[in-house]
């Protein structure tokens, strides 16, 4: 299914992403006979089936694009069960954990499954994700979701307290990811899950206090962890817009003023325009995410 492989046309049972605009997308499970209501009108699923991914689909009050699912689109459209991780952090996590097809990963907690989908995409089909979620309801929902997304072969969800009981597997993981309230209490659990030949660890924390304790424990003599690094990523997305900057009325008919502004070389005639200077510029949104969380990375390499 979509997250680990590609197809060209929509089939019943697929999850697709309906694109109505840059900030208006939602996931849709395609089911024979069903109809979904959108602000652009009804979408009859039967009409989507066999529809080509990436093409327009016309509703009564507008048109949408039917998109192939990817972990990145899923991240921005998924139903939030918790705070989720966003794409800049996810990318850095996958990269710094050295994940690739075949990697075995332990994750806690599963949360809304935003990162889990991205991990599975990267480690499938030969790798495996063991993901632990303390909260029973969330664990069940995540498990169901993975099944619906055709990912059950690559992941097991465990409802478990990782701090008390550790990870369900020992010495098999290439990488461990922690996103729990007390990551510092799970350092030995992480070490146990990791391969004796070594691996990588990442802990995500919104607050610096957790980071401080986590680093202290990672650096403790005999922990087996090395190369502790802490990052924070701020990703800014801008819009390219044409802006018109008005010109002040400086009386350029006056020769004295004109000579000051234009100069001898006449280098920048643009600023002698009467009404407005026009340029293309990058406009940042008024507010952006200034902080998502801190990423702590370390290498496990017991002596």
């Amino acid at each position: 299914m979509g997250f680990t492989s590609f197809k060209s046309n929509v089939e019943a049972g697929d999850i697709v992403i309906i694109f109505m605009g840059h900030d208006s997308m939602f996931p849709l499970y395609v089911k024979k006979g069903e109809i979904s209501q959108t602000k652009f009108g009804a979408i009859k699923h039967d009409q989507i089936i066999n529809h080509k991914y990436g093409t327009k689909f016309t509703c009564s009050r507008g048109w949408v694009y039917v998109l192939h699912p990817t972990p990145e689109l899923w991240t921005i459209t998924l139903p939030h069960r918790t705070q989720i991780l966003y794409t800049a952090d996810i990318s850095m996590i996958l990269f710094q954990l050295d994940l690739k097809p075949g990697s075995v990963v332990c994750e806690s907690g599963t949360g809304s499954g935003s990162l889990s989908h991205a991990i599975i995409r990267t480690i499938a089909p030969t790798g495996f994700l063991h993901t632990v979620e303390f909260h029973e309801d969330r664990a069940n929902k995540a498990s169901l979701e993975f099944k619906k997304h055709g990912l059950a072969d690559y992941v097991t969800v465990y409802n478990r307290d990782v701090i008390k009981l550790g990870f369900p597997v020992t010495s098999v993981a290439d990488a461990v990811f922690l996103d729990i309230p007390s990551p510092d209490d799970a350092i030995s659990a992480a070490a146990n899950a990791l391969k004796q030949s070594g691996g990588r660890l990442c802990s995500f924390s919104p607050c610096i206090e957790q980071v401080q304790r986590t680093c202290t424990n990672l650096r403790q003599q005999g922990s087996g962890f090395k190369d502790v690094q802490v990052f924070e990523l701020i990703r800014r997305s801008c819009n390219v817009k044409r802006v018109f900057v008005p010109m002040a009325d400086l009386g350029l008919d006056n020769d004295e003023v004109r000579s000051k502004v234009v100069g001898e070389s006449n280098v920048l005639p643009s600023v002698t325009q009467k009404h407005a200077f026009c340029c293309r510029t990058c406009v940042l949104p008024k507010e952006t995410y200034g902080h998502t969380g801190f990423l702590v990375f370390a290498t496990y390499q017991p002596n």
Binding site: T82, Q83, G109, F134, H135, D137, P181, S182, S205, P206, C207, I208, E209, Q210, E232, I234, R236, V243, V245, P246, M247, A248, D249, L250, G251, L252, D253, N254, E256, V257, K260, V261, G263, V267, L268, S270, V271, T272, F277, C279, T281, V283, L284, P285, K286, E287, T288, Y289, G290, H291, T292, G293, F294
Partner: protein
Amino acid sequence: NMADNEINLNTTVILERNSVLKAVKLVANKVIVFEKLRFKPDKAVGCNYGTVFKVTLTPQRSSPWCKRTIANGEMEITDQDLDSLDTNADDAQGKDNRSLVDTHGKSQTIKRENILEMKGEGATGEEIVKCLVENSSSFNEKTSFSQNKYLKKKKKKYLSYIRIQRPNSRLICQLYQEREPAKICNMRMETMSQILTAANIKHGCNVGVVETCSGVVLGSVLEKLGGKGCVVNLHNGESPPNLFAISHFNFPEPDSDKSDNDITMDTVSEQSNGCDKTKGDNDIKVSGKKRRENRLKHQQRAWGVLENKLLDAVVVVCKFHPTPILLCLLDLQLSRPFVVYSEHKEPLMELFVRLSISGSAINLQLTDTLTRQYQVLPERTHPHVMMSSGGGYLLTGLKITNS
């Protein structure tokens, strides 16, 4: 000296409720409407700046023959600590919320209608909060931490504390930044602060200002001159721009007897006439012969500063393309700074290049500043989750001569 710190009628003050600011002139017996509160300011007179008042809620009675009678609230001095009501902290982060189940507000049996009814019956904020707590099925299950947070949130909503502060450049800047950023060209406080230092604004200097920031820049420069020096305000076209914010600073009026202040806002519209004519208008409402004379005197002085090239600094913070404006005003004294703000980078890049090759400026710097605000609370310390981006750009430099 302590009397300086007293709230007086006929001055502008900054009102604060739930971190929202508003500048308002206190007039005897005149109702102030602010953040859903209605009250007369008279009781505040004589209190110190910084005092927190409780304003009783306005009972809103509705009956068949009188849809809604709006009464005024009463002010009452209190020593409530506003910080302790602050619930902006995102306490949830970092807490163990693993076993929480979201009840989606189902735990509260008091509905919006009930609250309106209580208000109509003249219930106090305290009574409403108490009622909400008693009727919340989940309140007792919460941790004391969560109970506290819940109480704070409700208190903030139903108890009506306001603080009255003395206006200054910082608060006026903050007010515009948060409520009407477009009126100050989306400039932020840290940029304003850099404008004042880069332009080396100090007691007694002559500053040329071009701004379309509602007077916030002009007022801030005036504040830092401290009663001596001269600000030449140049504006576009015939009519003076909106300089409403100037009135928030409570500057002594230039012609009042109390004033030992040598400054006025001299608006010289000569720009449109090639710097060879003065023709002014003054935003401070003036009347009477003496005022007119004063105004003329000030305009002539400003004009003299311009004509004799006595400017110690030039500050341009406006919506217009800054290149021609700065080039026109580059007749400031040698080894003196100029500062140009623009919301977009491209016009400043052009000005940067133009000045680099002109040989009339050195130490050119095109900068932007990223400000990170931090929440520092036990177990919850992190940079603010939302960050205002795009606070514009500054070009600074020093006037020199190549010859």
